[in-house]
């Protein structure tokens, strides 16, 4: 029996692993190159090959990218932009996820005349390209007095993200048996009590999905950042762009790479910490009740 179960060597296995490992390597090479380059000196870069280890490991490029590199006129590195991104992303993620949870709850458990139509129209929001809303949004932000502010960016990202978060939560809550809501109503719970005491506690997986999705979208956004923010409210993506495009003469690849890694770090961390929920939340639609 055991021989049949354990096949120590099979052609298929080897093939599968070879393909997977190759694919992983292909995807990892750019990251490795970036990491290696960010720890090299400029001299090392111009003389050596891309994949070679640094002859002399140094944090100099990271320091410079963080606090002294020039991004346009000022030369203070990207750290302001980095914190700006947090100031924008955290409230935007939380608000859009919260609104999405509430919308999803209403669209799945408290349907009313026309609620399906409204839901379809919200879904439409998922398919509207960024470019289309630039001008109207700029005008709206101007009227609200939020042009060129972090709060303005938060408004933009919340507006845009609610379509997605509503879709996520609504589909998740459709899988929750209606009998739960009925039982709670008979127990005397009202609309909000059911939302906060019954629905939200069972929403951890879909919260994780929404948070990862929204955080990645918002953190990586460049277009809204470059259009709706200026100066001290610009996010890290804009900062990175400025850093790479400023600078005269010799290209400081090591500094560029370090700055790019700084810009990518938070989304990586979020994935590592919450990634398993992402998979789980996407696959496990319903709740065992």
């Amino acid at each position: 029996m055991t021989e049949m179960v354990r096949k120590p060597f099979s052609f298929n296995r080897v093939l599968i692993y070879t393909v997977l490992l190759t694919a992983a390597a292909v995807y990892l090479v750019p990251l490795v190159v970036m990491l290696l380059t960010s720890f090299k000196t400029l001299g090392d870069i111009s003389s050596g090959n891309l994949m070679a280890l640094p002859t002399h490991w140094t944090m100099h490029a990271w320091h410079k990218a963080w606090s002294t590199a020039c991004t346009g006129v000022s030369c203070e590195g990207v750290h302001h932009f980095f914190w700006n991104s947090f100031k924008m992303a955290i409230p935007a993620v939380l608000i859009s996820t919260g609104i999405g949870a509430f919308n999803g709850y209403v669209f799945s458990k408290w349907r009313f005349r026309g609620s399906d139509l409204i839901f379809s129209m919200m879904l439409f929001g998922c398919f509207i390209p960024f470019q289309v809303i630039l001008l109207p949004m700029a005008a709206t932000l101007g009227k609200m007095g939020l042009a060129n502010t972090t709060a303005g960016l938060v408004v933009v990202h919340v507006t845009y993200g609610v379509a997605f978060t509503t879709l996520f939560f609504r589909n998740y809550y459709v899988g929750v048996p209606d009998a739960l809501v009925k039982a709670a109503r008979l127990d005397g719970a009202g609309f909000f009590t059911i939302f906060f005491r019954i629905m939200l506690p069972m929403s951890v997986p879909i919260f994780m999905v929404c948070i990862i999705w929204q955080f990645t979208q918002i953190w990586n956004d460049f277009l809204f950042g470059v259009v709706f923010a200026s100066g001290d409210s610009q996010p890290i993506t804009v900062g990175l762009n400025n850093l790479v495009n400023t600078g005269t003469g010799v290209k400081e690849y090591n500094v560029n790479m370090a700055a790019a890694l700084i810009a990518a770090l938070p989304t990586l961390v979020v994935y590592v910490l919450a990634g398993k929920y992402f998979i789980r939340g996407l696959t496990a639609g319903s709740v065992k009740g």
């Binding site: 039982a183 109503r185 719970a189 065992k288």
Partner: protein, 371 residues
Amino acid sequence: MSRLELRAIRKTYGKAERETLKGIDIDINSGEFLILVGPSGCGKSTLMNAIAGLEDISQGAIVIDGTDVTTLEPRDRDIAMVFQSYALYPTMTVRENIAFGLRIRRQPKEEIDQEVQRVAKLLQIEPLLDRKPSQLSGGQQQRVAMGRALARRPKIYLFDEPLSNLDAKLRVEMRTEIKRLHRRLRTTIVYVTHDQIEAMTLADRIAVMKDGELQQLGTPKEVYETPANLFVASFIGSPAMNFIPVTVQKGDRGLHAMVKSDSGETIDLPLPLALSAYENKEIILGVRPEHITQIQAHKEGQPLVARGRLTIEVTEPTGPDVIALVNINGIPVHCRIDPDHPVDPGDVAELMFDMSKTSYFDPATEQRITL
């Protein structure tokens, strides 16, 4: 202990073109155990949800203890419901599940603890109080669902197929337990089931529904022995009642009907004189399988008893009886035979017809002919 009156309840769902409830009128006495049966989709759950206040009704009134509650919210009706799917709150422990309704109603903590203890003891779920629903077996979840309903001591309990997800043995156990609970608490209960035995054993009265209409309301005995129409007759009882269309004829010894066995032999079935209005007309005999049996000496010579020779086609031993299939007038007919009188497929057996318990139906109206 509360009286529940359903007055001419009508319900049409928002987008549906057909009416789901077409005027349901039932008075449920205080402390009564009412069982609701009917085919799938006939509106049982809809009626339960309407009573609970989870669905609005289109017309009619729901009255509890003389108070019209038709427009009240579920929480203000003081009704508890046990769902087929149990609907336990998955993120709460058993204790929290049971206490939830009491907490919402802001009862003092000591009272809640006491109540949880009382209910847990009653249902023997004390060791489970700190578990989550996902860590319980189906039977245990079912108990917790009942516990949640019992905790508030509401005026009325609604059970919507509470046992249908349990295996056969557990179902019998819980059935007994529910009956015992009802004996003790004497609370008004409305209970939906698909299970014949559950209906017959638990009910004070049974309400049979079809297509949103009440077909018959009566004690289990009434519904079983004097079904109001062909539908009730065929729905209640397993194996189902046999229906044999015959023509009422007048003979020298009173009314009778002639039927033919599969071999062409004529069997003469005596009919009560009360059917004289149907002389030379067609009626449908409704004969329960237990009234076609082996020859029983003590019934010999009684007025509404007949004999006939029939070929046994199939036998199904159930343990206490053997259900045998024969053919009368070309219609398959089930009989119930004592296993001590062995019959085998292919045998020609002499069977006894006890017509004193037969129901008679008008083929045109499908209604019972009351004698």
